[in-house]
Amino acid sequence: MAVWDLSVSVEELGAEAPPLKISVTSDLHIGGVILKVVEKTQISKDWSDHALWWEQKQQWLLKPAWTLDKCGIHADARLCLTPQHKPLQLIMPNGVTLRLRACFSSPVFRTVMGICKLLNMRHPEELSLLRPAEEKKKKKQKDEEEVFDITSAPLPTGSIVKLANGMPAFFTESPQMENVYKMLSVSQPALPPETIAKMYRPTSKVDKAQVNSRWLDSSRSLLQQGLKENDKLFLRFKYYSFHDLTPQFDAVRLTQLYEQAKWAILLEEIECTEEEMMLFAALQYHIGKVSTTEQLVASCPAMDDLDSALQCLEVKMEAETSADDMLVCMNIHTVCFLINLPKKQTLKKYKQFWFTFKDTSISYYKSKEESCKEPIQQMNLKGCEVAPDVSVAGQKFCIRLLIPEPEGMNEVYLRCDNEQQYSKWMAACRLASKGKTLADASFSSEVQSIQSFLAMQRTTPGSKAVQSDDSINTHSLVSPRYQKKYKPKQLTPRILEAYQNVAQLSLTDALLKFLQIWQALPDFGISYFVVSRFKGCRKDEVMGIANNRLIRIDMNVEEVVKTWRYNTMRQWNVNWDIKQVAIEFNGNVNIAFSCVTADCKIVHEYIGGYIFMSTRNREQNDTLNEELFHKLTGGHDAI
């Protein structure tokens, strides 16, 4: 058989170095080629991760047993021997940039699996990689963000040793690495509102469709898609169908999901009402606060139980001892002013009474001396609404109570003298509204949280220098729209109001609650695409793809025109030549469209991906049916 020269460039020799020429025959297999090249380089190192890349065809030659003939390689081919795993800058949902080694030779789907394995995130099928948006003006002066290097981690191809809590062992190798893991598994502190305001926010569904053009193709490799070493990519949850979210094992996954949700809300990628925004803000505040003290990563359930039982016990005992003190306390500090506000009367006059708080009731008397007698009135706060009316600057500390009574709500204002008194009474009122007494274990934490909230109000106006760790600008908890709409002092009480319902949640519960509310938003989980040529329609429209349905949306009014559920879908086809997706539903309903804002492969992958997600079930948890995924999402060239 004829011997001919094959030119192979080797990355290790440098970009400038001329390609090596090796003489081969057509029946030499790929493995043999690599062996020859390696011998010729005379570099001794571990070459096991290297593979041949065929530049002209943009193809990896990954089957070592195939002969050159079988691969179709002739003398004109330019091959390159290069590592399959190369560093990549990965921007996590929480904004942290990691530098890690990712596989450039396998389909992106598997690359993501590898990355997730490295970072201890289960269910990698829900995530994918997103190209960064093209920045119009390259502002280089923008200080480079910190990149955390974890390229020292073992390659995901091997098995990764994990600790009991699922944390990969290599993260414990150095304090820096540990820090990285902590950063991944604990939510990040809020950014200053100015920064948030500067970030890009989509304003319409068309804008929201743009992001979806940037998804990488899951069935092709990174190198095939033109990515190079050290390129930046975003790791994002792509399919909004989160399977089996278990806080115990999913520390990183849960945190990253929360961060993605948080940013979606802050940047108005998903719309919500004002009330919802306040609740989200309250939860963010709470999560931020609790993250500093509580570790999400659960060690082992049995220990947890024990711990929590012990804690519970401790708290109880504390409460029991302090309950009496508290009662006394509340009796002493109780000079407040009250007025029953008659309707329509805007002038608030306050009159001084002696107040006592017992169980869930407030009683008031003319004076302290008369407190042994019958109170003027006693009000049971169970089930009442408590709202703050506070201005630290104006030294106004009022509590507004809406107490339900058979005839309606009784509106009562309590005015306290100072912050101390206010926070105690406020805490007591809040607990009472939930039917808890002062003796409840949560009383002191409630008092504290009110005080820290007040502190927040104190520091925000202007004096940035004073900001301590504890105080967060409430503006950074809401989207820019509300930053504009409300001043911090208007915003704080509203967030505080929402906060009282979540203040007692544990970190995990707060995270889950945040995700829950997010998922309950009407527009949750819809990925938008601008499509054209819906049958019988000339103008462009928006197509929304969700986990169970397709939604046709009028582009101008942004209203839903029609929805089709996947379970009524009979089949879908992609005509790759004219880039058209055609879908047939039960009852002879046919739709066909081509996608304007993204490649039709992406649309196709979304639909197939969601169908794939729906085939997962609880029993077969760990085995990811990769092949099925590719069947459902692959393009014509992938099969």
């Binding site: 989160f242 979210l245 719309e271 919500c272 009402t273 004002e274 009330e275 919802e276 609740l279 089930g383 609404e385 809406l402 339900p404 009574e405 058979p406 005839e407 309606g408 709500m409 729209r481 319902n501 889950l512 995700l515 829950q516 509310i517 997010w518 998922q519 309950a520 938003l521 009407p522 527009d523 169970n548 942004e558 209203e559 996947y566 379970n567 009524t568 879908m569 009979r570 089949q571 879908w572 086809n573 992609v574 005509n575 790759w576 639909i607 197939g608 169908i611 729906s614 085939t615 997962r616 079930n617 092949e627 099925l628 069947k631 459902l632 692959g634 393009g635 014509h636 099969i639």
Partner: protein, 680 residues
């Protein structure tokens, strides 16, 4: 109620004293206690015991005294009869005596702590059931009932001395504990509630503050012999506001009732409401309400299940995306204004004038945390509403017209149902679905009880022969068999430990020796039985033990005769002695019908009750009786499995899958093929 409370407080104090004295006794157990207990048991059968008698000697502190005390207490609360029936505590212990007593014989020296536990509670439990007993039959029937329970301790005492004493002392201590618990329980807030039933009747029952609406409904099922389908609903009506609201199954009943004013004319009504769980029967009508009704009508069950799964089984419950024009009564005015409303999980919103539907512009009308939703009646007249399809949102405490109530009016009945249901989903979320599944389970277990009952008793009793599913028929044929069931269930417990009066102490000694051996075998079957579906075997198990046990009992069974009312009963009452009867019973009675125990509650019901009232709560091994109902209860739940949605089929030009057929399986096939091809 106050009186009763006071009384209980007294009781508690006394009981404390009693426990103290008992503690001393535990350290040095005295044999005489046995005999005294027996005599006591006979004397005090009629609750003649004065529980205020603080001078009661140690002897008088015997179990039966306590029982009697308890019974007395309960008797005082004559209205509470049913409550205790429903109570698990009393229910569970009931059967054990039959099983555990033998066990005690078997290994008397062993630290019998766990098993002995059961017996104590058993004696403690029955008394409460007595008052129930009093209702249908006559009070006299108590006597045998009591003795049977109280006499549990004697056998062990005879069989082995010291250890048995210990056991007994332990039992006593436990019993006192139980009594104390019961007393504490008595401190729990209770309400006596009169429930109106749609056919005009009414039932009065006691509801304690820990009881959920579901428990009360189950209770009412027993009392009313209705078919127990999932639509049955406990509602509160407010004549002043002309509203009605169905309580959710997981709510505490006492809480909303305590919000009523003193002079309230509000009522609690028990009737069927189709809308209660309609969302789960036809989810498509709510989640796809925009689509045309016809296409939704014949939706397949599988698709419905998928809908439910999507909306209720995820991490977050998805609220139906309701939106549309409703009328809102303007605050403080008489006029109604049209607004475009939207329902979100976080609350009910409307579009302010001149704004768009976009979320940020929406104005919140209410959030649901402190609000309940009520159906309204005749608001056209009362408030000049545009239609009579109105609902209001208000704080549960508000009982009268107020500016804090949100009045809403819909164009038609269906729209109103949509909104009210939607709001309930937003408010209660997954809980509603749990409730529904629970209710479904209960109703199917109830119906299975019916069918079981109908099959088995028929041969024995001519009157129970019609297996008709309608409530009326059930009620009709329910009564006769009920009598049988009572004795039957009693049978096991009585037989095992019936020391009765006539044949005094000497009779007991002989049995113990043998009993030790025979009993062991029966228990296992008894334990296993409930799980399986065979009603008969368990029955026979206790019978085996009877002969082994006190053969004398037959003649000692004087108590039964006293049952003046149940003249025909005595025969069945003594299962073992009259062979004919025994056969009769074992064959026919095993799966006693449910009604029987509803009315004739005493001890027998215990085993049956659970399935009806407490559902799966009874798992511990309630020996013989429960099988049929239990299995019925378990059965329906088993098949609660969801299958992934049938994925649509995709055909890419390259992937030539035939159209039609199951996409997934085809894929799988194709893949296998491919794999096979590669292999070659």
């Amino acid at each position: 109620m106050d009186d009763i409370d006071a009384m209980f407080t007294d009781m508690l104090e006394e009981m404390d004293l009693l426990t103290q004295s008992l503690e001393t006794e535990i350290t040095e157990p005295k044999p005489p206690s046995n005999s005294s207990s027996k005599s006591n048991s006979m004397q005090d059968l009629n609750f003649s015991i004065g529980f205020t008698d603080l001078n009661a000697s140690l002897n008088e502190l015997e179990d039966n005294d306590l029982d009697a005390l308890m019974a007395d207490l309960v008797a005082d609360l004559s209205a509470t009869e049913e409550k205790f029936a429903a109570e698990r505590g009393s229910v569970k212990p009931q059967p054990p005596p039959a099983v555990t007593v033998p066990a005690a014989h078997f290994a008397p020296a062993a630290p019998l702590a766990p098993p002995t536990h059961v017996p104590h509670s058993a004696p403690g439990a029955p008394p409460p059931s007595k008052p129930k007993n009093e209702l249908p039959p006559c009070p006299a029937s108590n006597a045998p009932n009591l003795t049977s329970n109280t006499s549990v301790p004697p056998p062990p005492a005879v069989s082995s001395k010291a250890s048995a004493e210990d056991v007994e002392a332990q039992m006593k201590a436990d019993k006192i504990k139980l009594a104390l618990e019961k007393l504490k329980e008595a401190k729990v807030k209770k309400l006596i509630v009169k429930v109106e039933i749609k056919d005009g009747g009414s039932k009065t029952l006691m509801v304690d503050e820990r009881q959920m609406v579901r428990d009360v409904i189950d209770n009412l099922f027993e009392k009313t012999h209705c078919d127990g389908n999932v639509d049955w609903c406990l509602c509160e009506t407010n004549p002043e506001l002309q509203t009605e609201r169905g309580f959710e199954d997981h709510e505490n009943l006492v809480e909303p009732l305590s919000a009523w004013t003193r002079d309230s004319e509000n009522k609690v009504i028990f009737h069927e409401r189709k809308d209660k769980y309609e969302i789960f029967k036809n989810p498509q009508n709510f989640y796809m309400w925009k689509k045309d009704k016809k296409s939704l009508k014949d939706m397949k069950d599988k698709e419905k299940e998928l809908l439910l799964e999507e909306h209720f089984c995820g991490t977050s419950v998805i609220v139906p995306d309701l939106e549309g024009v409703l009328y809102l009564k303007e605050e403080g005015k008489k006029s109604w204004k049209q607004r475009y409303f939207l329902l979100r999980a976080s609350g009910m919103y409307y579009i302010p004038k001149g704004k768009t539907k976009s979320s940020r512009d929406l104005q919140c009308l209410v959030q649901f945390d402190n609000m309940n939703v009520y159906y309204c009646k005749d608001y056209k007249i009362k408030y000049k509403a545009p239609t009579d399809f109105c609902f209001i949102l208000k704080h549960p405490q508000i009982q009268k017209e107020s500016q804090y109530i949100k009045y809403l009016c819909c164009d038609d009945h269906w729209t109103m149902t949509l909104w009210v249901t939607g709001i309930r989903i937003a408010k209660y979320g997954k809980m509603l679905y749990e409730n529904y599944k629970n209710a479904e389970r209960k109703s199917s277990s109830l119906s299975s009880v019916w069918s079981n009952r109908n099959l088995q008793p028929s041969p024995s009793t001519s009157n129970a022969s019609t297996p008709s599913p309608t409530p009326k028929a059930k009620a009709a044929n329910g009564h006769p068999p009920q009598h049988h069931s009572e004795p039957v269930a009693k049978g096991p417990s009585n037989q095992s430990s019936f020391p009765p009066p006539p044949a005094p102490v000497d009779i007991l000694p002989p049995p113990p020796p043998d009993p030790t051996l025979p009993p062991p075998p029966p228990p296992p079957p008894a334990w296993a039985m409930p799980v399986k579906k065979e009603p008969n075997p368990p029955r026979s198990a206790p019978q085996h033990s009877q002969p082994a046990f006190p053969p004398p009992p037959p003649m000692d069974f004087p108590p039964p005769p006293p049952l003046s009312d149940d003249a025909e009963l005595p025969p069945d009452f003594l299962p073992p002695p009259p062979p004919v009867m025994g056969g009769f019973m074992s064959a026919d009675l095993p799966p006693p019908p449910p009604d029987p125990f509803h009315t004739a509650l005493p001890p027998p019901p215990a085993p049956f009750n659970p399935p009806a009232a407490a559902g799966g709560d009874l798992p511990p091994p309630p020996p013989p009786p429960p099988p049929p109902p239990a299995s019925g209860a378990l059965h329906p739940t088993a098949s609660q499995r969801r299958v992934g949605p049938p994925p649509p089929k995709r055909t890419t030009p390259t992937l030539s899958a035939p159209s039609g057929g199951d996409f997934m399986s085809e894929l799988q096939k194709a893949m296998q093929k491919k794999r096979g091809g590669q292999g070659q």
